[in-house]
């Protein structure tokens, strides 16, 4: 009964604690979260306060990444080495066990079924069969030689199995003849010291592999030598926080000063622009007034003039009359005379131009004719000379003979 009361009280206490935990204020939750964050490892500040810190952060990130890759590769290598070593040891042990079994003499029936085994030294190269000690063998030999009959020897052997402790005691099977050479003999032996040495070696290899794994897991000394303590992490975090606050304050100050300068410049340029705009507006108003005044004056003068004919209509009528053979002109006498004089001067200029062109053509033709005349004259002179030479030419005998025969 008392036990059940105690359990119910403990349950009430745990419920009230949970309820109090739920009803904690947000400030407490934030403080708890902050304390929890303090224990977290250092993180890279996403918005660095200076380019140097940003570069350092990126370098740390890259180094950390490279270190992680190296660590992973070394771990993989150590694991592979350990696995291969273990496989090799298992294989050796299995082979040793097989050879130990093969070193045990088979029953006669089995031996007879495989006669080749008789010719092969049993246990050659295995080192599993413990050889008989030389002293013990010598004493056994002396003892067996002391007996005259085989029955006595067999009886001795049955009574003293300690001479054959390393071989199975089976009187029906003869002891195989072991002809090990002096070089193979140490390999054949596998006494407890050898097994212990092998076991020690295996243990050392396992320890080495474990050390390699530990070395691969542990970070390099240059980067992170050992896990930092909580105090160091908190101090580092405080330093980072202080430098961040300082950098941010400086940045805000710089930004405020720059903004102030920009605002001042904008104010001055805005003032100047307003002045220019007001001046242009005044000029535009003045020009508009002047244009309106001129327009009004022109309209007033047009209203005061008498009505006029449409000039274009009148010109079309005159042109139509001239086309129909009726000489009508709106020009004055002076203008008519001037126009006729101009037309006459134009014709004279054209005539002069044509005459000049004809003179040029005539000169060209004369030059051509002179060339032809010269050529023909030269030819004629050549022909005349050749004719003179022909006149005075004295015929050869052949020519004279031909000319005479005509």
């Amino acid at each position: 009964m008392a036990k059940s009361d105690t359990e119910s009280k403990e349950k009430d206490v745990s419920r009230s604690a949970a309820k109090e935990k739920k009803e904690e204020s947000p400030i407490a939750i934030a403080a708890e979260a902050l304390n929890a964050k303090i224990d977290l490892p250092e993180q890279i500040n996403i918005i660095p306060t200076s380019p140097e810190e940003a570069t350092r952060a990126v370098d740390d990130l890259l180094v950390q990444d490279i270190f992680e890759k190296i660590k992973f590769n070394r771990l993989k290598g150590a694991l592979a080495r350990s696995e291969s070593f273990a496989n090799t040891e298992i294989r050796n042990l299995e082979e040793s066990a097989k050879k130990t079994q093969s070193a045990i003499p088979s029953p006669p029936s089995v031996m007879n079924m495989n006669p080749q085994n008789n010719s092969i030294p049993i246990g050659l190269g295995t080192g599993i069969i413990p050889p008989i000690n030389s002293d013990r063998a010598a004493s056994l030999k002396v003892a067996l030689d002391s007996f005259t009959s085989d029955d006595a020897r067999r009886k001795f052997i049955d009574e003293h199995p300690e001479y054959f402790s390393s071989v199975p005691i089976n009187p029906g099977v003869p002891i195989p003849q072991q002809r090990f050479s002096s070089q193979n003999q140490p390999q054949m032996q596998q006494d407890p010291t050898t097994i212990l040495a092998d076991a020690t070696k295996i243990l050392m290899d396992h320890l080495k592999a474990g050390m390699d794994i530990q070395k691969a897991i542990s970070p390099p000394a240059g980067i992170n030598s050992g896990a930092p303590s909580t105090v160091e992490v908190v101090n580092t975090f405080k330093d980072i926080n202080a430098s961040t606050v300082t950098g941010f304050t400086n940045l805000v100050k710089d930004f405020q000063s720059q903004m102030k300068t920009v605002v001042d410049d904008l104010k001055s340029s805005n003032l100047e622009l307003q002045k220019n705009v007001s001046k242009l507006q005044m000029d535009l108003i003045e020009k508009d007034k002047e244009y309106m005044k001129n327009r009004i004056d022109h309209l007033e003068s047009a209203l005061q003039r008498p009505p006029e004919f449409n000039i274009s209509q009148l010109r079309s009528v005159i042109n139509e009359a001239n086309a129909n053979g009726v000489p009508v002109s709106v020009d004055t006498e002076e203008r008519e005379r001037l126009r006729s004089d101009n037309a006459r001067k134009d014709r004279e200029q054209d005539h002069k131009f044509n005459m000049e062109q004809k003179k040029i053509d005539l000169e060209l033709h004369r030059e051509k004719r002179r060339g032809l005349v010269m050529n023909s004259a030269v030819k004629a002179a050549g022909g005349f000379l050749e004719g003179t030479v022909l006149k005075k030419h004295v015929l050869s005998t052949d020519g004279e003979s031909v000319a005479r025969r005509f």
């Binding site: 022909g383 004719g387 030419h393 015929l395 003979s401 000319a403 005509f406």
Partner: protein, 144 residues
């Protein structure tokens, strides 16, 4: 009937006209003339005269009145003498070939006669005897 022993009449203009031929750009060399002669000497005189009269250069000369005026008053003997003198001066090798055999001379004479008739617009006289001689000497080689 003119006297055959008297020297032939030679119009002075023909010397100038035939001498002007040497001033032509196309005036041939003696080797070319001999080559042409070797091809033409096996042909009848009418064919040779036909080939000459249908040549563009010859046609351009005989159509002028100057050539007709230059040979006015001359007979075949005078024409032969002047042409022989021209050939003897400019192509002496050809003259040797013409004088080498009777057939070559007959060919030469008949061609000149036909050309003279063509220039004067006369009919070509029949030269049966000379044609026979031409046939007889066909196939003979030029003796240099």
């Amino acid at each position: 009937m003119p006297d055959s022993s008297a020297p032939p009449y030679i119009n002075p203009l023909i010397y100038n006209m035939i001498g002007s031929l040497t001033a032509l750009d196309e005036f041939p060399s003696e080797d070319y003339v001999l080559e042409i002669y070797a091809q033409l000497r096996v042909l009848p005189a009418e064919d040779v005269a036909y080939m000459i009269t249908n040549d563009d250069h010859f046609a351009s000369y005989i159509n002028t009145s100057l050539v007709r005026a230059a040979i006015r008053g001359m007979d075949i003997r005078g024409i032969g003498f002047v042409v022989t003198t021209f050939i003897d001066r400019n192509f002496p090798g050809l003259m040797r070939h013409i004088n080498s055999s009777e057939s070559d001379f007959l060919l030469y004479k008949n061609v000149l006669t036909i050309l003279l008739s063509e220039i004067r617009g006369e009919n070509v006289p029949e030269q049966e005897d000379e044609a026979k001689g031409q046939v007889e000497i066909e196939g003979s080689s030029i003796q240099s």
